[in-house]
Symmetry: C2
Subunit: 199 residues, 2 copies
C-alpha cells in the first residue's frame, strides 16, 4: 500500500474515531462536523470527502464489520449448511474484539449515545448499502438469483435485522451486560428456526 493510500486510511480512521469519541463525550447533538474535522486535524471539506454525514462516520466501524461478515460467509467451508455458515461468520465479527480493553465507562457512554433520538434509524439507513454484500454471498452459496429470487435478499435483511435488534438489546442492558456475540447468535438462531412463538 502506498504512502498516499495509507494516509487516506489513517484520515478515515481518525475521522471515524473522532466522531465516535466526541459523540460519546458530548452527546451527538453537541457535535458538529467542524468539531470532528478539527479533532482529526483536517478541514470540514475533507470530512465530507470521506463521509456524507457524521452518522456515517460514527457507524463506519460497524458498517465495516457488516462488510467483513459478508466476506467471511464467502470463506466458510463450501459444504457447510447456509445458516451454520452465516451464524459463524457473523458472530466471529463480534468476538475477535478487545471489548474488555475499552476504557471504563466507554461502553456505557456508547450505549447512552446510541440511545439519542437523533441516532434513531441512522444505522439502518446506512446498513442498507452493506446488505447487498451479504445478499451476494448468500446467492453464491445457495445458487439463488439476485434478480429473480427474494431469498438471498430476505436472508441478508433478516441477518441485518437480527444484528440490529441484538445490538439494540445490548445497548439497553443493565450490568452485568451479556456479551454482544451471545445476543447476536441467539437472534440469528431464532431467525433460522423460523421465529417460533415461545412456549
Amino acid at each position: 500500500m502506498s504512502l498516499r493510500e495509507r494516509k487516506k486510511e489513517q484520515t478515515r480512521e481518525a475521522l471515524s474515531w473522532a466522531a465516535l469519541h466526541l459523540a460519546v463525550e458530548r452527546g451527538i447533538e453537541n457535535v458538529r462536523v467542524e468539531d470532528i474535522a478539527a479533532a482529526a486535524g483536517v478541514s470540514a471539506r475533507t470530512f465530507n470527502n470521506y463521509f456524507t454525514s457524521k452518522f456515517e462516520a460514527i457507524y463506519w466501524r460497524a458498517l465495516a464489520r457488516s462488510e467483513a461478515a459478508a466476506v467471511a460467509v464467502r470463506e466458510r467451508p463450501a459444504g457447510e449448511p447456509l445458516w451454520d455458515a452465516v451464524i459463524a461468520a457473523v458472530v466471529e465479527q463480534y468476538t475477535a474484539e478487545g471489548e474488555s480493553r475499552a476504557p471504563e465507562g466507554w461502553q456505557a457512554g456508547v450505549r447512552a449515545m446510541m440511545q439519542a433520538p437523533e441516532m434513531t434509524g441512522e444505522y439502518l439507513k446506512l446498513s442498507r448499502r452493506t446488505e447487498r454484500e451479504m445478499a451476494v454471498a448468500v446467492a453464491d452459496r445457495t445458487g439463488t438469483d439476485l434478480d429473480k429470487d427474494l431469498y438471498p435478499h430476505l436472508v441478508a435483511a433478516a441477518v441485518a435485522a437480527a444484528v440490529y435488534v441484538a445490538t439494540d438489546r445490548w445497548m439497553q442492558s443493565e450490568p452485568p451486560v451479556p456479551p454482544m456475540a451471545s445476543l447476536i447468535e441467539d437472534g440469528l438462531r431464532q431467525i433460522a428456526a423460523g421465529l417460533p412463538a415461545p412456549r
Copy 2:
C-alpha cells in the same frame, strides 16, 4: 372529529401527496421542501410542523400502513397462531387498495423515484419508529416481555425486513408486475419457515 382536527389531517394528506407527486414527477433531487409546501398551499414552516424531512412526507402513507398492520395483528382472533395472524394482518394492508386505479405510468414513476440513490435507506430509517408498534403487538399475543426478550423485537424487525425486501422487489419488477401482496406474503412465509436454503 372537530373542524380543526379535520383540517390538520387534510393538511398532512395534502403535504404527503404533494411530496410524492412532485418526487415522481421531477425526481427527488429536484424537489425542495418549499416546493412541496407551495403545492399543498402552506408555508415551509408549516411543512416542518408536520414532517421533519421530505422523505418522511413521501413515506408517510407507507409508514401509516405499517402502523395499521400492527393494529391489525392485535385484532386477529386470540387463538390464531402468531405467524398466521401476522401474515394475514400485514398482507391485508397491501390488498385493500386501489392499485389498479392509479393513473397509467404512476407505478412505473413511483418505482423509478424510489430507486434514486437519495432514497436509499430513508424508508428503513423512518420505519424504525413503527417497528416498536409491531413488537408491542407481538409481545401481547405471545406473552413475551419487551424489556427482557429478544423475540418480539426480532419478529417485528424480521417482518419489516420482509416487507421492505418484497416492496423493493416489486419496485424493480418488469411488467407483468406481480401483486405486491403476493410478494410480501411469500417473504413472510419464508421468514416463518426459517428461511431454509432452497433446494
